[in-house]
Symmetry: C2
Subunit: 412 residues, 2 copies
């Protein structure tokens, strides 16, 4: 039998899980205090829902669950059976699609605006050489049923509060609007049909600079006049909300200004929100505002989200406005572990040693210590000194020998 | 697209998740205070591990994950491709197999005795008409590396403490030993090869009585003399640890007596542990003590476990003693919800209403209230009275209108 976990998944050690649990509790408490309520949905979703969810590249990364029994035999009877015919459900690749399904399934029992927490695992069959996990945790908050930009503001303030409380320092919230992105491409004369391809190239602006973007546009044989007009927008440096006023609808610009100003005011200037016109976000289901959090010194986003006003409508006959913000928990965990994160004020863990003939009494003694300590009852080892070293290495803070008068002794 | 969750899985409503989270925290805290440390393992396991795990009937209930890409095409090129060839991993059906793999994978980083918590989802393709879920939560504690019966005692005391703390009342811990079961069958002259079949029939003793067991043994054409000798054991009523002294090794009897007596002493007589010779537990991997918790008035077990001294040896070249106790969280949750469970001393949840022109200030006001309350900031609705009713129905305890002098008003 195989001792290693399956490719792209991880076993977490006790000291890691202790920190993961603590961080997740801090995030959940922050979200609950902000009036969000938690739901859970199954990890398995109907294949039709997954396949039609406009999840962009993620749709190629779905783990599919094999049909069973008669359904499987009948599929296998088909000579040229396809992957999709062998499976009628799969593991979810995000929490937004299950939430949209959930809302449509349970809307009569839910209050709107529905402010909702999801903290759970998702699955993507990423190529492991990219160093990405195939099973990972996301911490999402979403607001369903509020079409005002106030929802974006609340998500940004609440998500950044959670990031602050877990101890992430020095980050920037980048914000854009899918409609601004479209307006820019359309204004400069590109063909609407090329928007997705253009977005993928423009998204690299941070890495390759405007000259790199220009070169890639030329390599891909886009219209020369459109390229010139597009690059021309940058001749005075980065695009700003003021400099794009002529390029797109004033409503889009004013919406972003309102979000940036209100977050600034409500956070007393502590949360930096930056208009980032080259921000794209991969999912096809976003319809308006998109945002992510970039941690200084780390590439890639630690959180991301946006508005998806049409996704719930795929389940219901009416469109319902919705916007969400997802913390990539594994990124946060990775960054904090690199910084040697320690839980503040952790309850102390001690061992109580017993001898065979006093086990029941030692159990009672240990139980009485549990208001103050985490207490593990352990048979007294023959080599106590060596064992005490092992305890220290394993996050114990001290010990007591049952029956000896001096009680709990803390290490160090 | 389909709004309902896939067959056998459930969406949980906010008020349910609030209670589930609270109960899971109580259980986890109880376990941590008892010196157990939490780990997590992936939900996906290698198919070979699952298939060879001696999980009894559960092995027929495994959800298999379809191979991908070239591996899948190559499997499909085989004309008579089988279910197993289409898949090289599956969803775990319990937490014991993943734990055994985990221990063998990480043992150099772990302390023994390894006292470990797992609280996580497992998957079984149960027939939905049995009212069973296909995705459900188990809360396990295990002790690895302790071959003394003290481990069983600690698991029983810790698990029942968790059950007490979540508010489960009136239950019995049933205990048996697989070796006693085998000794009884062997003593009465049955063929060893029939042990599994015999166990399945004997397991029904509680439901069908000794006459029912006799009838089933006869229907299945077991040896008449063996049946008579077996039934003869019951002529003075139930079997007791004293009455089976001649039937099996004294060690097995003394072990159970030691467990029962020590739990009684350490719990001051509050935890009833009952020798139950017909207790079987389904998994094939159990090697010694087995136990479960039966809640008065509810059929089926709310918790179950036992000793599995050979399972980790399938991964390592040495056998490592191990014993575990698993709370069936869905059973506990179901029972408590039937009893209208309410979270004690829940932090109060209120709404703060704002008007468009004072949103930023209302956010600051709400933030200041969050030490005392969970606070959801909501645009003031046109029909405030009607909306307040909705808040009350949705577990809110009160509200405040930003800008009005009278502050927080609690309902009722």
């Amino acid at each position: 039998m195989k001792s290693t976990p399956v490719k792209g998944t991880r076993d977490y050690l006790p000291k890691e899980v202790e920190i993961r649990d603590y961080l997740q509790n801090v995030i959940a408490e922050t979200y609950r205090d902000a009036g969000f309520v938690r739901i859970t949905t199954p990890i398995i979703e109907d294949a039709v829902n997954l396949d039609k969810s406009e999840g962009g590249e993620n749709l190629n990364l779905i783990f599919r669950v094999l049909k069973r029994g008669k359904k499987l035999s009948s599929a296998l009877n088909n000579e040229n059976v396809t992957e999709k015919e062998l499976s009628d459900m799969g593991l979810r690749y995000d929490l937004t699609l299950p939430l949209s399904r959930y809302f449509s399934n349970n809307k009569n029992e839910l209050m709107t605006p529905f402010k909702v927490i999801q903290m759970d695992r998702v699955y993507r069959a990423e190529r492991p050489q990219k160093g990405r996990l195939r099973e990972f945790m996301q911490c999402d908050i979403d607001i369903i049923g509020n079409d005002s930009r106030d929802a974006e503001i609340e998500l940004i303030l609440t998500t950044t509060k959670a990031l602050n409380r877990v101890g992430l320092k020095n980050y920037t919230v980048k914000i854009n609007d899918r409609r601004i992105l479209k307006s820019i491409f359309s204004y400069t004369g590109f063909d609407d049909a090329d928007n997705e391809k253009l977005a993928i190239i423009f998204d690299k602006l941070d890495k390759i600079g405007i000259d790199g973007v220009k070169a890639e546009l030329e390599e891909n044989s886009f219209d020369k006049n459109a390229i010139d007009k597009f690059i021309g927008l940058f001749e005075n440096g980065s695009l700003t909300l003021d400099s794009i006023a002529d390029v797109c609808d004033a409503e889009y610009v004013n919406d972003l200004k309102y979000i940036i100003d209100t977050v600034d005011k409500a956070s007393n200037g502590t949360i930096p929100v930056e208009f980032t016109p080259s921000l794209v976000r991969g999912q096809g289901y976003y319809t308006g505002t998109i945002f992510e959090v970039a941690a200084d010194g780390y590439s890639g986003a630690v959180a991301g989200g946006g508005r998806y006003d049409n996704l719930i409508g795929k389940f219901l006959n009416e469109d319902i406005p919705a916007v969400g913000f997802s913390i990539g928990f594994e990124r946060i965990f990775g960054i904090l572990m690199e910084q040697n994160y320690a839980i503040p004020d952790r309850k102390k863990r001690i061992a109580v040693f017993y001898d065979k003939d006093n086990y029941a009494d030692a159990l009672v003694y240990a139980e009485n210590l549990r208001n103050e300590y985490m207490v593990s009852v352990i048979a007294r080892p023959k080599k106590l000194g060596k064992f005490l070293n092992k305890l220290e290495q394993n996050e114990f803070d001290g010990f007591a020998v049952f029956g000896e008068a001096d009680g709990v002794k803390l290490f160090g």
